[in-house]
C-alpha cells in the first residue's frame, strides 16, 4: 500500500498508433459534442442545468482504455463525456439533453440523470458524492457474484469532501471491493478552488488512512491516464480491493452553463488551453510520430462533425415524450 505520484509526460510504449488515433477521435467526439450541447443550451433547446466536460476529455478516454466488457461505471452530473466514452449513442445522449422521447431516459432524466444498462453506465447522479457509495455497491454486487468485473466510480475534488466518500472508502477497503475511485480534480468545486475548500493538497493520499493505494495522475495526458488505469484495474481485478486515482485535470467552461466564472482569470483558462490541451497533445504525438497526416486528422474531424451534427438533428427532431410518460416507470412490475 502506498500513495504515489505518477510522472506525466512520458508516453508509455504500450500504445499503438491505432489506439492513439482512437484516443484522438474519442476525445474530439466529447469536445465537439459538448460544444454543440453548449450551443443548443444557448438556443433554449436544452434546459435546466448543463455541466460541460470540455478540458477533461483525457480522463474518461484514458480510464476506459483499460476497461473490459462487464466493467461498470458511475459518475456525477458532469456525465456526458463518460457516456460517450463507454460507447453510448450520441443521438440518445443529445436527445436526453433536449428532453425528447429518443433520449436514453425517454426525456425524463435530463443532462444529470442518464443511464444505460446495456453499456453498464449507472448514471448520472445529481447529488454530490452520492455516486461514491453507489459505485462501491456496484462493486459489492460483482464481488458477491464472484466475477472479476471492476467498477469505475468517478467523482470530483468537491465531492471528495463529503463524508459519505470516507464511509464508502472504509467499507470498500474492509470488504476488498473491486472499485476504482477516480477523483477528477478539475481544481474547482463549483466556484471554490481546491485551496479554499480542501485541507490537503493531495487528495489521493486520503485513502492511506484506509489502506487504499492511490496515485496522482496528469489528467491532461491521456497516455498517463491509461497507464494509471491499467495499474488500478489490475489491482482491483486480482481481488486486492479498491484503488484511488486522483486525476489532475481542468475544465475550460464554467461549472454549469450559468456560471459567470469570476473565481478564476481568463488568462488562467487560456494558459491551460494553450499549453496543456489533451487533444492537441495527442494530435502533436500523431503528427510528429508520423502516425497520421493532417489529411488523416481532417478526415477524423469531419467524421466527428458529422456524428455531432446528426445527434443535434436527432435531438431536435425527436418528439417530446407523450404525456402518458408522466405516469410510467414509477414502479417496476413483478416479473411473472
Amino acid at each position: 500500500m502506498a500513495a504515489k505520484k505518477t510522472s506525466a509526460k512520458t508516453a508509455p510504449s504500450n500504445v499503438s498508433p491505432e489506439e492513439l488515433k482512437a484516443f484522438y477521435r474519442d476525445m474530439l467526439l466529447i469536445r465537439r459534442f459538448e460544444e454543440k450541447a453548449g450551443q443548443l443550451y444557448g438556443m433554449g433547446l436544452i434546459g435546466g442545468f448543463c455541466h460541460l466536460y470540455i478540458g477533461q476529455e483525457a480522463v474518461v478516454v484514458g480510464l476506459e482504455a483499460a476497461a473490459k466488457e462487464g466493467d461498470k461505471r458511475i459518475t456525477s452530473y458532469r456525465d456526458h463525456g463518460h457516456m460517450l466514452a463507454c460507447g453510448m449513442d450520441p443521438n440518445g445522449v443529445m436527445a436526453e439533453l433536449t428532453g425528447r422521447e429518443g433520449g436514453y431516459s425517454k426525456g425524463k432524466g435530463g443532462s444529470m440523470h442518464m443511464f444505460s444498462k446495456e453499456k453498464h453506465f449507472y448514471g448520472g447522479h445529481g447529488i454530490v458524492a452520492a455516486q461514491v457509495p453507489l459505485g462501491a455497491g456496484l462493486a459489492f454486487a460483482d464481488k458477491y457474484k464472484g466475477n472479476d468485473n471492476v467498477t469505475f466510480t468517478y467523482f470530483g475534488d468537491g465531492a471528495a469532501n463529503q463524508g459519505q466518500v470516507y464511509e464508502a472508502f472504509n467499507m470498500a477497503a474492509l470488504w476488498k471491493l473491486p472499485c476504482i475511485f477516480v477523483i477528477e480534480n478539475n481544481q474547482y468545486a463549483m466556484g471554490t478552488s481546491q485551496q479554499r475548500s480542501t485541507s490537503s493538497a493531495e487528495i489521493y493520499e486520503r485513502g492511506m488512512a484506509f489502506g487504499i493505494p492511490g496515485e496522482a495522475v496528469d489528467g491532461m495526458d491521456v497516455l498517463a491516464v491509461k497507464a494509471a488505469s491499467e495499474t488500478a484495474v489490475a489491482h482491483c481485478r486480482s481481488g486486492e480491493g479498491p484503488y484511488i486515482l486522483e486525476i489532475k485535470t481542468y475544465r475550460y467552461r464554467g461549472h454549469s452553463m450559468s456560471d459567470p466564472a469570476k473565481y478564476r482569470t481568463r488568462e488562467e483558462v487560456q494558459k491551460v488551453r494553450d499549453e496543456r490541451d489533451p487533444i492537441e497533445a495527442v494530435r502533436t504525438l500523431l503528427l510528429t510520430g508520423k502516425h497520421a497526416t493532417e489529411v488523416d486528422l481532417k478526415a477524423i474531424d469531419k467524421e466527428i462533425k458529422g456524428i455531432v451534427n446528426e445527434s443535434a438533428e436527432f435531438a431536435k427532431e425527436s418528439p417530446e415524450p407523450h404525456l402518458d410518460e408522466l405516469w410510467t416507470d414509477i414502479y417496476a412490475e413483478l416479473e411473472a
Binding site: 461498470k72 448514471g123 453507489l134 459489492f140 454486487a141 460483482d142 472504509n170 417496476a332
Partner: protein, 455 residues
C-alpha cells in the same frame, strides 16, 4: 455560409438579458473560445464565447441594449472568404422548440357513489392450522424463507450477524446463511444504504436493517434520491429492488431522537412502497412480498410489537399482498382506521366501545403505499363516520391524507367531520408520564369516536 449568432440563454430561467458590451467589432476574426460580448442576466454578468470560427460580419444589436430576448440574432458570423453581402442571406437559425405542455390532467374521475370494489378475501382459508408466534420470529422466518429461495437476497446492517441483531430479529441467520449473506456493517448508515442501493442496481436484492429508522435520516438521501427515483430517471432501465427495514416510532423512554414515527414521511414518496404491519402474520407475509417486490420497500416495524404473539398460519410460502387492508372487526357505527402499533389503541378502544353498544369497524391498512383507500371508502359509506389513529405527529399525518381522500370521494356519506388521533405535536419527552401523554391514547380514540357518533 453566414450564420446568425443568437442571444444565448445563460441560465435555466433566463428569457431576456442586456447586451452589456461588445468585445469584438465588425471585421474581427474570432475562433472557438474567444469572448465576443458580455451579457447581463438577472443573476450575473456573463461572458459569451464564440463557438465557431469566422469573421464578425455585422453587429445587429448595439451594446447597452436591454431586454434582448433569448434567440434574437445579435450578430452575423461570416466564414472565411465570405463578404458582408452574405449577411442579408443569413438563414435564421431554428427557433427553440415550442414547448407543448398541456397541464397534466389529473385523472378526474367523477366520484361514483357505488361502493368501491374491495378485496375482502380472508388472509388464509378457514380451517388452516395456526401457531402462536412473536412478531420477531415471524420476521426472521419471512426473511429466512426468502433467502433460501433466492441467492441474491442478503441482509446487511449494524449488529445483524455476530450479535444476532440488536433486537434479535436476525437470530440464527448468520449460522444458516454465513457471513457472505448476513453482513455486519460499520456504524455508517449513509454509506451502507448507498452501497446497498448500488448493489441493488447491480442485480442483488439487499435487505438493509436500520437499528432504528431514526438513524435512517442519515441515509434518507440514498433511500429517496438514489433508490426511489432511479427507475423513473432511467426511463425504466434500472431500479432498486430492495428492502429498508427496522423499528420505527416510539419504544419506551428513549427520548426525542430515538422515538420518531416516519410513516407519513416515506408514504409521500413516489417510487417507494411502504409497509407498516401490526400482526405477526402480516410481518411475515408482507416481508416476503417486500423482498420479492422489484421496487424499494420501506418496512416500518415496531420495537414494542416485536415480542407480541399472534396467530400465524402454517402455510408454506405464506405471503400477504401490498395494498390490501385487513378488517379486524366489523361494525356499523364508526370506522376506525389505523396501522402498525396504532392498531393496539384502535382495537382496545373498539372493545371498550362495544361494551357501551358502539360497534366500530376497525381497519388495519398494513401498507401505506399502496394504500387500500377503497376499503376505507366502502366502510365509511356504511358507518358514515371516521376516526384515524397513529402515533406520528399531526401536521401532514397519514390521517390527514386519509381525511382528504374521504372528503373528496365520500363527502356525502360523512355525518361528522373526520377526526385524526395522532401523537402530540411535540418532540418525544423522556419523563414517563410525559411520554405516555405525548403518544396517542386509547382514551383519546374513545373520545373521538363518541364525538363523531354524537354520543
Amino acid at each position: 455560409m453566414a450564420t446568425e449568432i443568437l442571444m444565448p440563454a445563460l441560465s435555466p430561467t433566463m428569457e431576456e438579458g442586456t447586451l452589456a458590451k461588445w468585445l469584438v467589432k465588425e471585421g474581427d476574426t474570432v475562433s472557438s473560445g474567444d469572448i465576443m460580448c458580455e451579457i447581463e442576466t438577472d443573476k450575473a454578468t456573463m461572458e459569451f464565447e464564440a463557438v465557431d470560427e469566422g469573421v464578425i460580419g455585422k453587429i445587429l444589436i448595439a451594446e447597452g441594449t436591454e431586454g434582448v430576448k433569448v434567440n434574437t440574432a445579435i450578430a452575423v458570423l461570416l466564414e472565411e472568404g465570405e463578404d458582408a453581402s452574405a449577411v442579408d442571406t443569413a438563414k435564421s437559425a431554428p427557433a427553440a422548440a415550442a414547448v407543448q405542455s398541456a397541464p397534466a390532467a389529473a385523472p378526474a374521475e367523477s366520484t361514483k357513489q357505488a361502493a368501491p370494489v374491495v378485496d375482502t378475501s380472508p388472509d388464509w382459508p378457514e380451517g388452516t392450522k395456526l401457531k402462536q408466534q412473536t412478531v420477531r420470529e415471524a420476521l426472521r422466518d419471512g426473511m429466512s424463507e426468502e433467502m433460501r429461495r433466492d441467492d441474491s437476497v442478503f441482509l446487511m446492517g449494524e449488529e445483524v450477524a455476530e450479535y444476532q441483531g440488536a433486537y434479535k430479529i436476525s437470530q440464527g441467520m448468520l449460522d444458516e446463511f454465513g457471513a457472505k449473506r448476513v453482513i455486519d456493517t460499520p456504524i455508517t448508515e449513509h454509506g451502507f444504504a448507498g452501497i446497498a442501493t448500488g448493489a441493488a442496481f447491480g442485480g442483488l436484492r439487499p435487505i438493509v436493517e436500520f437499528m432504528t429508522f431514526n438513524f435512517a435520516m442519515q441515509a434518507i438521501d440514498h433511500i429517496i434520491n438514489s433508490a426511489a427515483k432511479t427507475l423513473y430517471m432511467s426511463g425504466g432501465q434500472m431500479g432498486a429492488p430492495m428492502v429498508f427495514r427496522g423499528p420505527n416510532g416510539a419504544a419506551a423512554r428513549v427520548g426525542a431522537q430515538h422515538s420518531q414515527d416516519y410513516a407519513a414521511w416515506y408514504m409521500q414518496v413516489p417510487g417507494l412502497k411502504v409497509a407498516m404491519p401490526y400482526s405477526a402474520s402480516d410481518y411475515k407475509g408482507l416481508m416476503k412480498t417486500a423482498i420479492r417486490d422489484p421496487n424499494p420497500v420501506i418496512f416500518l416495524e415496531n420495537e414494542i410489537l416485536y415480542g407480541r404473539s399472534f396467530d400465524v398460519p402454517e402455510i408454506e410460502d405464506y405471503t400477504v399482498p401490498f395494498g390490501k387492508a385487513r378488517i379486524w372487526r366489523e361494525g356499523d357505527d364508526v370506522t376506525i382506521v389505523s396501522f402498525g402499533i396504532g392498531m393496539t389503541y384502535a382495537l382496545e378502544a373498539a372493545d371498550k366501545l362495544a361494551e357501551e353498544g358502539i360497534m366500530a369497524e376497525v381497519i388495519d391498512l398494513r401498507t401505506l403505499r399502496p394504500m387500500d383507500t377503497p376499503a376505507i371508502i366502502k366502510s365509511v359509506m356504511k358507518t358514515n363516520r371516521l376516526v384515524t389513529v397513529e402515533e406520528g405527529w399531526p401536521q401532514g399525518s397519514v390521517g390527514s391524507y386519509i381525511s382528504s381522500v374521504v372528503m373528496q370521494e365520500a363527502f356525502d356519506y360523512l355525518d361528522a367531520p373526520v377526526i385524526c388521533c395522532t401523537g402530540k405535536d411535540v418532540p418525544m419527552p423522556y419523563a414517563a408520564n410525559l411520554e405516555k401523554h405525548a403518544l396517542v391514547t386509547t382514551a383519546e380514540v374513545i373520545e373521538a369516536v363518541k364525538k363523531v357518533t354524537y354520543k
